[in-house]
């Protein structure tokens, strides 16, 4: 059977299942709901090329069960100390047929060059591992204590704090799964739910404040760094694996493992101390070695609150957690093991002298929102955070050119830590644009983000007379981004950097979103525009449209354009038009909900 026919058949099966399903009722304290969807994504890297890159069939099932009401289990058994208890389960099952169909298209890397790999080149075992997902994503128990204003949420869950939409600052409890498609999905789908104990102490009135509460969480070791993949996975970092290049020479074989294996004439297939890239650092996943904690205080100001306007809602936040590397910071995920003895021992063990790292970082933050009704009828949002000790690759900490590891001198560096200040100001405004819609307002949402790296050293080559990317003398000093690896940042000979991924003092980003309702909520369009003014004005434009065929059936159409304004690679770290160059996509999704 041809791939196209198999794909059509699968889609048809999805539709038939959807038509045949009946809405599930509620059974007393039990609520069952969910949806079944089939999503097709077509990528058009240029005007003449298109390819199916996703045919994802998803089942979601949600169960809400009131275990305890008024302190009684099933209206019979009194449970001391607990007033209410509710169980929440959320299951997601996925089958993506592209990993079976492996439709023929070849992806380009960040340079716009074909990588010479197709989906079918992913080893069969790897494809089998990613085509299915069968996971109880969330499972938690909500408990409200009887005589205290204290409630708990215990179990596998997501926690979202802050004011930003789809960008990370205070929303940092759950890492993101970038292999799930950053642009196509809501972050609800991308966050990795973790086993967490969360508590909420409801204070309400406190001095001149009202609606005050303290929320805190402890993740007793169930933490992972952000999940990332490489080409030819369709929605991955736009490079082949810099450690283990799946291609053969002369185009391939540039992974650091291969370079080291060739140089030392022995197989080197692992990272230092068994760490795994984007999976695990040098720690044990237990409460002693991998706990994460956070606390926030939230309140609304009253008339007597000094300095602040009445009705301002704010939060004060503190986190102590491992660095997940998923907030658009061009930070380090790995470091060079610079101690010669340790590096040599690693090579003896078949390990590269490179370690994946996820260090602990302290972070304090503030968020606020305020509805200004008199002059602008607008909700203003603010979020800002100060992070202590974010890791960066530091070219000043590299292997000596005279050391046995000089071959890595232009590829991996040691790490220096710096503080960062990040923030967002945004607005939400319902606005009448009557020529476009006489019946409903457009909700217009704008966000402006900044990242500021404090005490960022200037960039220089080893030879002060040479200019970056330092093809002759090598990297001298200054911070480097993760694309500054010779196996990556080159279109020429291995070992020579053609480009340098600079870590900038300031990174800025702007987003503008507009949405409205037509036909009584039957048609819901979204328009999203994202501009990165720092990195060559790369942009992203999205148009999404949900059409409710019935209350149960939804047709969703999407079109995404990633605009790189130059013909050079743009090493932006936000994951917008630079990283996604050539990934213009058209999506069609059919959902049946019950």
């Amino acid at each position: 059977m041809s791939s196209i026919r198999r794909w059509l058949l699968l889609s048809l099966v999805g539709c038939v299942c959807a038509r045949g399903s009946a809405a599930l009722p509620r059974y007393g304290p039990l609520e069952i709901s969910g949806n079944v969807s089939a999503q097709q994504l077509f990528r058009t890297p240029d005007i003449e090329t298109w390819g199916l890159i996703q045919q994802r069939n998803t089942v979601k099932l949600r169960v809400d069960y009131n275990l305890l009401e008024r302190g009684q289990l099933a209206n019979l058994l009194e449970i001391p100390g607990i007033e209410r208890a509710k169980l929440y389960l959320f299951y997601r099952g996925v089958y993506d047929s592209v990993y079976d169909l492996t439709p023929g298209f070849e992806q380009n890397d960040i340079y716009g060059l074909p990588i010479g790999l197709r989906l079918s080149d992913i080893p069969r075992k790897q494809r089998e591992a990613v085509r299915f997902e069968n996971r109880l994503r969330e499972a938690y128990l909500d408990l409200k204590l009887k005589h205290l204003p204290l409630s708990f949420r215990l179990g596998r869950q997501q926690i979202v704090w802050g004011e930003t939409d789809n960008f990370r600052m205070l929303d940092r409890v759950n890492p993101l799964d970038f292999t799930w498609h950053l642009q196509q999905e809501t972050w609800d789908e991308l966050r990795v739910p973790l086993w967490i104990i969360k508590g909420l102490w409801d204070i309400d009135r406190l001095a001149t404040l009202n609606n005050a509460f303290v929320e805190f969480y402890w993740n007793p070791g169930d933490w992972y760094p952000a999940k990332k993949a490489f080409l030819p996975r369709p929605w991955s970092a736009p490079i082949v694996n810099p450690l283990d290049d799946p291609r053969s020479p002369p185009d391939g074989g540039r992974g650091l493992f291969q370079i080291l294996s060739r140089f030392y004439q022995r197989p080197i297939t692992k990272l230092y101390r068994g760490t795994r890239l984007f999976q695990r650092g040098d720690y044990v996943r237990d409460p002693g070695d991998n706990s994460q904690v956070g606390v926030r205080f939230s309140a609304v100001t009253g008339a007597e609150t000094p300095l602040l306007p009445e009705g301002l809602q704010f939060t004060l936040n503190y986190f102590y957690q491992r660095w997940p590397g998923d907030d658009g910071t061009n930070s380090a995920s790995f470091r060079a093991v610079l101690d010669p003895r340790e590096a040599r021992a690693a090579v003896q063990r078949g390990e590269a002298p490179i370690e994946f790292i996820a260090p602990y970082v302290h972070a304090v933050g503030v968020s606020a929102n305020y509805a200004e009704e008199q002059y602008t009828q607008t909700v203003y949002r603010l979020e800002t955070i100060y992070e202590f000790g974010v890791p960066f690759l530091d070219a000043a900490k590299s292997y000596s050119l005279r050391s046995p590891f000089a071959i890595l001198a232009n590829d991996v560096y040691g790490v220096s830590k710096r503080d960062m200040w990040k923030g967002m100001i945004g607005f939400d405004r319902p606005t009448w644009i009557r020529p476009l819609n006489r019946k409903a307002t457009f909700l217009i949402l704008g966000q402006f983000f900044w990242h500021y790296l404090i005490d960022n050293p200037s960039i220089a080559c080893r030879d002060p007379n040479e200019r970056p990317p330092c093809p002759q003398s090598g990297q001298g000093k200054g911070f480097r981004g993760q694309f500054s690896t010779s196996g990556v940042a080159t279109t020429g000979s291995p070992g020579q950097l053609a480009y340098i991924d600079k870590v900038r003092d300031w990174e800025l980003l702007m987003t503008l979103t507009a949405t409205t309702f037509y036909k009584g909520g039957k048609i819901v369009p979204f328009l999203v525009y994202i501009l990165d003014p720092v990195n060559s004005y790369n942009q992203e434009v999205m148009f999404l449209l949900d059409y409710f065929i019935t209350n149960h059936a939804i047709l969703s159409l999407s079109q995404r354009f990633f605009v790189n304004t130059t013909d050079r690679p743009v090493f932006e770290a936000w994951g917008v038009g630079g990283l996604n160059r050539g990934r213009t996509e058209t999506g069609v999704k059919l959902t049946f909900q019950f």
Partner: protein, 419 residues
């Protein structure tokens, strides 16, 4: 000129002699019989298939405590200079004696409506269904959206008569009431949505509103300007609930008249019965003649969806029977109709009130888009007879909250209940 006078006389005569009797059924064929007993909005509905079954009017008694509070406190109540505030108000009806020649009659009627006898302390409506869909007028509506709402609660902070603390709760923020609509139970794409609203006594202070959005898993601040926006794109907006739920200070009010009109105060069917066929955008039930204040409110807010509303306020029950809502061009846009059932007990419920309470359902029709939203409390699928709780305070329990108590109307509770 003479011809014009003759036509005018005939028109006045027709209007004067138009009348309905108990036992009549008003349909589009005999709608002229209703004359000025119905407003333009209701006439539009009848013209499109709605039927009004006329019954003899019955009194709606005020709750005893409300009556006593009115007798005790109303004499001391004054309007502030800007008319947007009441001075010396404690409880009961602020202005029980309306003089239609009083230049402040309209605003006093609105203040009476604000402090109406129907709910003085708190209310909970549970498990109600809200289908919304296009109208063909020939076949039943096929809903394109249908919401099931878990709870809609309101807790008043002043003018309280039934549940301690009375007559006012500790109220440093000057709250008139807090309202929680949460969670949306279905459909799945809206499941877990919840909203929290604070209304303040001080007219110069706009509402505070928050919406929990499960898709982003957090509470979003809302602008008051969104109160007149149709919720989730269907027809009904927050300010139209109960006929009018906006702040008095947001509009200029004008009394258009006092007259007899038709309204639903004593519904025959406790579970609302939609009209048959293409008229199922409305409930077909018992209508009775009522004395009604007709009040027009023209918005002062620049971002408000509507140009004006005409409210038909029952002079005895002080509830809005219907509201005609006009766009900025002055054309009829939407019609809100309330269908009350004043009674002491909901069928099957174990809760018996000492006074008659106004159980209601409502419909909102967009006459320009031919689209309607039907609000059924209780919903047809709701198995529980206890879907209404008037002035029950901590006893107004549901699976989503332990009662109409202060700590339920908080952002932290919204986060916990709407997920």
């Amino acid at each position: 000129m003479i011809t014009a006078l003759i036509f005018a006389a005939l028109f006045i005569a027709a209007a004067t002699f138009a009348d309905v009797q108990p036992g009549d059924t008003i349909t589009k064929e005999n709608v002229a019989k209703a004359g000025e007993l119905i407003g333009p909005g209701l006439r539009w509905c009848v013209d499109h298939g709605m039927k009004l079954h006329i019954v003899a009017p019955r009194r709606v008694e005020w709750p005893r405590r409300y009556r006593e509070a009115t007798e005790k406190y109303s004499a001391q109540v004054r309007l502030s200079a800007d008319r947007n505030r009441l001075e010396n108000y404690v409880a009961g009806m602020p202005f029980p004696n309306i003089d239609v020649n009083d230049p402040d009659a309209a605003i006093k009627i609105m203040w009476n409506y604000q402090y109406k006898p129907l709910i003085t302390d708190d209310v909970l409506m549970r498990d109600f269904q809200v289908p919304s869909g296009p109208l063909t007028y020939t076949a039943p509506m096929v809903p394109d959206r249908e919401f099931t709402i878990g709870d809609m609660r309101r807790l008043y902070y002043n003018g309280r008569l039934f549940v301690d603390p009375k007559p006012e709760m500790p109220n440093p923020e000057g709250v008139r009431y807090k309202e929680l609509l949460a969670p949306v139970v279905s459909p799945y794409d809206m499941k877990g949505v919840g909203a929290l609203y604070f209304r303040y006594i001080d007219a110069s202070r706009q509402d505070d509103s928050w919406l929990y959005v499960p898709a982003v898993r957090r509470v979003r601040r809302m602008s008051t300007a969104q109160r007149s926006d149709a919720l989730f794109g269907q027809d009904a907006d927050q300010d139209s609930f109960w006929g009018y739920s906006g702040h008095i200070a947001w509009s200029e009010w004008k009394l258009l008249g006092v007259k007899e009109m038709l309204g639903v105060l004593h519904r025959e069917h406790f579970r609302p019965q939609r009209c048959e066929g293409g008229a199922d955008f409305a409930f077909c039930d018992n209508w009775e003649k009522r004395k009604v204040y007709v009040v027009e409110g023209t918005t002062k807010l620049p971002q408000y969806a509507y140009g004006k509303r005409v409210l038909y306020i029952d002079a005895e029950a002080w509830v809005v029977l219907a509201s005609d809502i006009y766009d900025k061009r002055g054309e009829l846009w939407k019609v809100w109709i309330e269908y009350f059932s004043f009674r002491k007990q909901a069928p099957g419920s174990d809760l018996v009130y000492e006074d008659e309470m106004g159980f209601t359902s409502a419909t909102m029709i967009d006459t320009q888009m031919n689209h309607a939203t039907v609000i059924m409390i209780p919903g047809p699928a709701s198995p529980d007879p206890n879907t209404w709780y008037f002035n029950q305070g901590p006893n107004a329990r549901s699976p989503y909250a332990p009662g109409n108590v202060e700590d339920v109307f908080t952002i932290s509770h919204l986060i916990s209940v709407a997920h």
